[in-house]
Amino acid sequence: MSSINYQTLSFEYRRCAEQDAVAAATDAARHPVIVVGAGPVGLATAIDLAQQGISVVLVDDDCSLATGSRAICFSKRSLDIFDRLGCGDRMVDKGISWNVGKVFLQDEMVYTFNLLPEAGHHRPAFINLQQYYVEGFLLERAQSLPNIDIRWKSKVVGLQQHGEPGSADAFVTLTVETPEGEYALRGRYVVAADGSRSPIRNMMGLDSKGRVFKDRFLIADVKMEAEFPSERWFWFDPPFHPNQSVLLHRQPDNVWRIDFQLGWDADPALEKTPERVLPRVRALLGPDVKFELEWVSVYTFSCLRMERFRHGNVLFVGDAAHLVSPFGARGANSGFQDAENVAWKLAMVLDGRAPDALLDTYASEREYAADENIRNSTRSTDFITPKSPVSRTFRDAVLKLARKHPFARQLANSGRLSVPAVLRDSALNSADNDGFEGKMVPGASCVDAPVLSNGAPAWLLAQVGNAFTGVIFCGNDGIDAATQRALKALQTGSIPFRVVVVASHGIRHAVHDLEDAIVLEDAEGLAWSRYDATPGTFYLIRPDQHVCARWRTFDATQVDAALKRALCVEGVA
């Protein structure tokens, strides 16, 4: 499979039903969701919706995948999402897994960090994988789902919203331009995943505001046999590229990403020429290493955000909504978190299980996350590219101190790598009153743990998500009959609901009335410790694997109220 050249694949334009509906201005089909943009975030959104039973039309103005490696670092959270979307193994099998980063000052290592210092996780902290593979694997997954209609060479050139925003009859008409002319495409909701220059954003007269950084960077992807380990290496002021920074990452297929800081005065056209690039690469690798240039790009960057991610029935995701500098890998990775957030909410609203107001929380939760990503990304950028003489003085002081004094090593900021936002203040959470320790607070995305399923090794996260999930921790005393009846009522209620029993080691009680529950055994005790569980502890988890409430003992009334709150259903006390 990996012999496919995803960069040169081309997809065919096909005529669609709307184009043959003669003068069907009002009769044409109204799709539940139209996703605009078949990049990584648009594809993930479409797959997530389709898996939750929602038919999707996915339109893209082009007919190919990404050119060049582009985004290469995919975080543990993204891998957990890919697992839920049914394509995690392909990504990880092809990708280069890594956990360790090293920071060098000149020729001396001053700081090393391990992003996943503990065992017992299915996925590593990161994989490196060229964006065209990520898009290719997502696309193949999307193509395997019958309820995704992908339309290539279909460019959105017009947008009109109809009806009272928030009402059941509100919808959007897109004017789509194809090789055979324009047609009207109607959908109840539109997800705009059309990238940093978002034509939809421009069409709606909206903008994305923030800071533009005055620095230029050169990406040189080189193909070579090399002995560097699978780690992220970052140099400040290295001897082979004085006064600037350099970042090295390993990619699959013997490709290495080298990212050179050039400064604002560099000429982007000139710096892309082999005459300029080759000597820079040789300075790093030494004169004898044989390599080929695979892809070269000179870029600048900005940290930008739309003020609001929802405008009527149009929801903005990924780079269309927010943009960060590349240091920290917070661009594509935050886009996948947008996708998982918006998908289950759209599915609930379209299935009539939640009011339209639930979609407002997509905007509020992911705007909060975008601020966190922009803050981290801006701090890294200010450290790597100081904006004033005094900022430069302090940056250099940190690096000089870091050689001798441990405290300064933590201040050396070469990028704070993407971790999922904890949606601590989300209106969908229920208050945490029962006294818990650890990281699994309401609003956090669930961490993984190794478990046994029917005695065979399995992973907790694989059993959680796609629907609301109740995880109950079961000790020696088992689960009492009343709780079992209440859990069964949840499983057969109007909201799709899954029950997962995590039994402590050696306890595999028959859970009498819960024949549809998934029973896992916590052989290593890691699920219990990571969730700070005691016998009877119950977690309510959203379809996107975020904790929304937890209790020390199961209480049907409180769980029902928390479920309603997580769906924005009126009448929550």
Binding site: T393, F394, D396, A397, K400, L401, H405, A408, L411
Partner: protein, 82 residues
């Protein structure tokens, strides 16, 4: 932990002399570099974020409000820990 603004130095005059002496034979850039390193070392020693924010605020006010009586007035005003 509130920032101590009463005298806390064990050898105030010796300290001050040593501070000036740290810059001996430095040009402007070297002095700036030494000051920055000194600030970072001391900040790490203090550690507490709220205390550092208080010090940063006083330093900022001291330059923003060059009138000494106004600065003194601001320093005396009741404060809420940030």
């Amino acid at each position: 932990m509130a920032l101590i603004t009463q005298l806390n130095l064990t050898q105030p005059d010796d300290f001050y002399e040593a501070l000036i002496d740290m810059h001996r034979d430095f040009d402007e850039a070297q002095s700036q570099a030494a000051n920055a390193q000194l600030i970072l070392l001391l900040a790490n020693h203090i550690g507490d974020y709220a205390t550092l924010m208080e010090a940063i605020r006083y330093a900022r006010e001291g330059v923003d409000q060059p009138n000494p009586s106004a600065a003194q007035h601001a320093a005396d005003a009741p404060r809420v820990a940030a």
